[in-house]
């Protein structure tokens, strides 16, 4: 049995330690509950679970954890179903988004309240209270503990994926000063997305989200320079992108595409994939990216998606024809910093410098994110 664990973990000392712990637990449980039908399997499952618990807090073991989880899911579907019930309950739409996030991190990813509080730069008491309230609502309002029925599955899965994506962005978009503690959150979200994929391997949007997260993370190291300043995609050192992670993301995206049910995460991942496949910024296939945004707009016709499409069009068609399209979004996006930052870029391209500076100043008013502010300030000169 130790061998089986060593194979999965590649760490003999740890495997042995876990087997010892599993045996201890057996000594405790078996006299009370009787010897299980397959004692060996019981021990292995217990040891694995202990390994999972240990690894969950150690980012560098995450990849191994994935292997381990994959192995244990296959021979233990009951445990898998239980996990899934837990996830859907934590992400029930009757709970607030922040409660869903905290509860999922606590109950599914096994983070402590302290760890969650640190990740969200808030007090432990706040997180503890958020979790207690959510649990109370689950009990008092009788939120059922189950995997949703087929007819609700689309909607409910969307909710779970939205929770995971928010979690990811909290970590991924964190600025330099906060990065150390918050980047982990992105890793946790990737782990959870991987779990969803293992539990629901036929759901293309779960695959799409996993691919999207991996593609973002593959570029994470090049997003900031040594001084902690934000580096835009066009200026990033592409040799620093994690090619292995990109390849794994593309494989996942292919699996999703084979299921022939496109969705927003798959399309966003496809857009990110276009960028990672381009050897340089100049070699970017903007025609393809604009086409993908068109498809995304059909699914979610939001002004922010329109803005992103316009940004891509700028590189395909030039600033002169793009500016009116961006200007048309003013009413919807007037308080969004990226709207003004985009206008500033377009106006500068067109030599309308005074207007560009005014737009930049407006963008600066609208973002509190330090890295974004620094970038805008540099442009203002």
């Amino acid at each position: 049995m130790t061998a089986a664990l060593v194979r999965a973990l590649g760490d003999f000392d740890l495997a042995e330690e876990l087997v010892q712990e599993a045996l201890l637990e057996a000594v405790e449980h078996w006299p009370r509950e009787g010897i299980p039908d397959k004692p060996g399997a019981w021990l292995l499952t217990t040891a694995r679970r202990k390994a999972v618990d240990q690894f969950r807090r150690q980012a560098r073991f995450r990849e191994k954890l994935a292997l381990l989880e994959g192995a244990s899911m296959r021979d233990d579907t009951a445990e898998g179903d239980d996990r899934l019930r837990l996830i859907f309950t934590c992400c029930h739409p009757a709970l607030s988004r922040e409660a869903q996030v905290a509860l999922t991190l606590r109950a599914v990813a096994g983070l402590t309240t302290t760890e969650i509080a640190r990740a969200f730069i808030t007090s432990e008491a706040t997180i503890a209270q958020r979790i207690v309230r959510a649990k109370r609502k689950i009990v008092d309002a009788k939120i059922p503990y189950r995997v949703p029925a087929a007819r609700d599955m689309g909607e409910r899965l969307e909710e779970v994926l939205a929770v995971l994506y928010l979690m990811f962005n909290e970590g991924y978009l964190a600025t330099a000063g906060e990065r150390a503690s918050r980047r982990d959150l992105a890793e946790d979200a990737v782990w959870l997305a991987g779990l969803m994929v293992r539990l629901m391997p036929e759901e293309p949007e779960a695959l799409g989200l996993l691919a999207l997260m991996r593609l973002h993370l593959a570029r994470a190291d090049s997003r900031f320079d040594d001084d902690g300043n934000l580096v835009l995609l066009q200026d990033q050192d592409r040799s620093r992108w994690d090619r292995e992670r990109i390849a794994s993301a593309l494989a996942v995206l292919q699996r999703a595409a084979a299921l022939r049910r496109p969705g927003q995460y798959q399309l966003q991942a496809a857009i990110a994939a276009c960028h990672t496949e381009a050897a340089s910024w100049e070699a970017t296939d903007w025609r393809q990216i604009v086409a993908l945004y068109d498809a995304l707009l059909e699914l979610m016709p939001s002004p922010v998606v329109q803005l992103n499409r316009a940004i891509a069009r700028r590189y395909r068609d030039g600033a002169a024809s793009t500016l009116p399209e961006v200007d048309a979004l003013r009413e919807a996006l007037d308080s969004y910093y990226l709207f003004h930052a985009t206008r500033a870029e377009l106006l500068r391209d067109l030599g309308r410098d005074a207007e560009a500076r005014a737009a930049l100043a407006r963008a600066l008013e609208l973002t509190a994110n330090l890295a974004e502010r620094t970038l805008l300030q540099r442009r203002l000169g």
Partner: protein
């Protein structure tokens, strides 16, 4: 598990509803009646409420009751009625609320269960 579904609508909608010609109102009731029929076995009580202009609020100021005109919920919405439903869990109550035919808003509230005998 018992829940109360509170049916809310914007005050504007409530006024439109009231000023509707009788024939039109009857027609507008049809889908609501269908909803009550569909879930008849789960609905254990409820009423449509008269418009907000008929409401009277008794407010206690330092323990002294003061009678005032109007509802106590101030806002853009008003409550047009409620239904008490007995279902397995929140998902089932939400399912019913989602099927509410006139739009607006439906608040789903679990009822406190102290294990009292049914009256």
């Amino acid at each position: 598990m018992k829940y109360v579904l509170l049916f809310g609508e914007t005050k504007e909608r409530a006024k439109q509803w009231e000023s509707m010609p009788e024939a039109q109102r009857q027609a507008a009731y049809a889908p609501i009646n269908q909803w009550f029929e569909k879930y008849g076995s789960k609905i254990t009580g409820g009423h449509e409420l008269q418009p907000e202009r008929t409401a009277t609020t008794v407010k206690f100021n330092n323990g002294k009751p003061v009678v005032t005109d109007g509802p106590f919920i101030e806002g853009k919405e008003s409550i047009g009625g409620y239904a008490e439903v007995t279902v397995a869990d929140l998902d089932e109550a939400i399912e019913m609320a989602k099927g509410w035919p006139t739009g607006g808003l439906v608040e789903v509230r679990p009822v406190v269960d102290r294990g009292e005998p049914q009256r």
